[in-house]
Amino acid sequence: MTAIPNVNKQSALGKLFAGGAFQKILAFASLIILLIGFSLASPNFMQTSNMIAILQATSVNGVLAIAATLVIITGGIDLSVGTLMTFTAVMTGVVLTNLGMPLPIGVVTGIATGAFCGFISGTLVAKMKIPPFIATLGMMLILKGLSLVISGTRPIYFNDTPGFDLISRGSLIGEVFPAVPIPNGVLILFLVAAAASYILSRTVLGRYCFALGSNEEAVRLSGVNTDNWKIAIYTLAGAIVGVAGLIIASRLNSAQPALGLGYELEAIAAVVIGGTSLSGGRGTILGTLIGALIMAVLLNGLRILSVAQEWQTVVTGAIIILAVYADNVRRRKGN
């Protein structure tokens, strides 16, 4: 056997979101079932405006989940995404509102802050050998406190920065195709997803992401500087969280320093529902996107049906378990 059989050729889309096309379709089925179910239950559900509302509701959690996906594929976990998001928003607010800098500098600050904090988490994990759960739990608390300290425990408003709210609320797509006024926040989500997918499947960084999650010791024994790559991955994840910080700040036209706690579990849930393994080595961005959509559709649908809040929580918990269980069953059947 010297000729390589061409069994693994992938479609362009398949290539973009490479790595286990099968399992993505599984989570996709859950999503479709939910969509059909809610459409039947309420005539108000299947409207363009509501679909856009769902997409918009996905944007923040989706971007956070993408960041979490990168870290989870390396076999780590990131509990700090929620409060880091808030921290980057606060830093953007300080630069734009308190210091009165122009918009682009604010954007760069937000993303750079995220990257810097990701760098610190990565260093704690890689160099100081703190388990990711603890390193990011610590960072979660530190950042939560620092957001309050830096903002003086008050929201920072972006009223002096005209156009800031357009980052998430405007619609570049809507300007071209008025029929689908998809807000920029959603556009950013898809751009981040495409970029992260590309990085995962096509670059060295992505390769080491999977390799580290698969068998870190083996990578190290191959002479690779695993520490540096790991730090790079956490840094990238941090930068992506910075993007989420911009989206939420723009949507609320303010940096709310008390926000963010609890977002990390939601992001991780989206990642796992999307088929990424918490033990590392396997995962896709497309799956994560679908996972985030499942969560958003679920909440939106339950709210539209005016299900009592306490039952919403119960149902959400049950669906998270069911979605992962269905995934398991179908994967076992598939093999």
């Binding site: 309420s42 108000n44 559900f45 409207q47 405006s49 509501n50 509302a53 918009q56 509701a57 923040v60 309050l148 425990t153 008050r154 929201p155 408003y157 009223n159 609320r169 939420i248 949507r251 609320l252 036209n253 303010s254 709310q256 320093p257 008390a258 926000l259 706690l261 909440l299 939106n300 709210r303 539209i304 049906l305 005016s306 809040q309 306490e310």
Partner: protein, 289 residues
């Protein structure tokens, strides 16, 4: 002689409302020459955290303790312990089901929410569907603001239907998404009441993003809410006087320490403000950023 130390244990910490209370307490502290600290649990459910905070505060030999109870009963044994140590207790924001506190500096949440209902009815013409978004369904403020609004509607406005009551945890973003869902589910809705700052801003955001023009009645102040009221996006909002609550609490504590008597209840009042009256001196004084 060392300065008197008065710790304030509150129900929350990072919300603007509590920050305003903190501000008022610090103003009074500066005025009366005492030291204050201000802390509270992360969210308004953590009764046990409050008790741990009270215990730590007691260890610091305070001259008096200010306390906003998450639960009106659960902390009574701890308060009794404080009382036995000879430390006077000043309740603020919400009362304790006991006569241990020397006084209670509070506002009537039920009545304030009833006023919000009146204003809502006025704005939508006394008939139609409305919804409530509150911060949580177990805290005293959460419960009373919803109950006050609901009871008032039931009592006085038979043609108003409350289609749904949902809870966003005071989280601006979650409240935004909830608002949009409510608007989708009830295209003919006339108004939404947001029962605290985070909820009100969420409603405002959701309505703006949906391009709807329903009536919004808010609660509390804060820069964004003030702007929205001024610009007319929000019909108006209830505000308590949190700065006043903080101030009165410390003042009552100082008076008690000095052996002066204080009334059993100090009502700091609540106000409805809209674009028309918000620059009045009396109103502007109780609004905070």
């Amino acid at each position: 002689q060392t300065r008197h130390y008065i710790p304030l244990i509150s129900k929350g910490f990072s919300h603007q409302f509590w920050q305003a209370v903190k501000l008022g307490s610090e103003q009074a502290a500066a005025e009366f020459g005492v030291d204050v600290t201000f802390e509270g649990p992360d969210n308004e459910g953590q009764v046990d955290r409050q008790i741990d905070m009270l215990a730590a505060a007691l260890s610091k030999n305070p001259a008096a303790i200010g306390f906003a109870a998450v639960d009106s009963q659960a902390s009574i044994p701890m308060l009794r312990q404080i009382d036995e140590a000879g430390v006077p207790i000043i309740a603020f924001d919400s009362g304790v089901a006991s006569d241990l506190p020397v006084t209670t500096c509070t506002t009537d949440n039920l009545a304030s929410a009833a006023l919000a209902a009146d204003k809502m009815a006025e704005a939508i013409g006394g008939a139609g569907k409305v919804a409530i978004i509150s911060h949580d369904q177990t805290s005293v403020t959460g419960i009373e603001r919803v109950d006050g609004f609901v009871d008032q509607v039931a009592a006085k406005y038979p043609n108003i239907e409350i289609v749904t009551i949902q809870y966003g945890g005071g989280d601006h973003l979650i409240s935004t998404e909830i608002t949009k869902s409510i608007l989708t589910a009830n295209p003919d809705i006339k108004g939404i009441f947001g029962a605290n700052e985070g909820s009100a801003i969420g409603v405002l955001n959701g309505v703006t993003e949906s391009g709807s023009d329903i009536v919004i009645i808010g609660y509390d102040s804060g820069a964004a809410q003030k702007d929205a009221v001024r610009s007319g996006l929000m019909a108006g909002a209830i505000t308590q006087n949190p700065v006043g609550i903080g101030y009165e609490t410390v003042k009552a504590a100082v008076m008690t320490i000095n052996g002066e008597s204080v009334p059993k209840v100090i009502d700091t009042g609540f106000y409805y403000y809209d674009a028309g009256n918000m620059d009045d001196a009396a109103i502007a004084a109780v609004l905070y950023d």
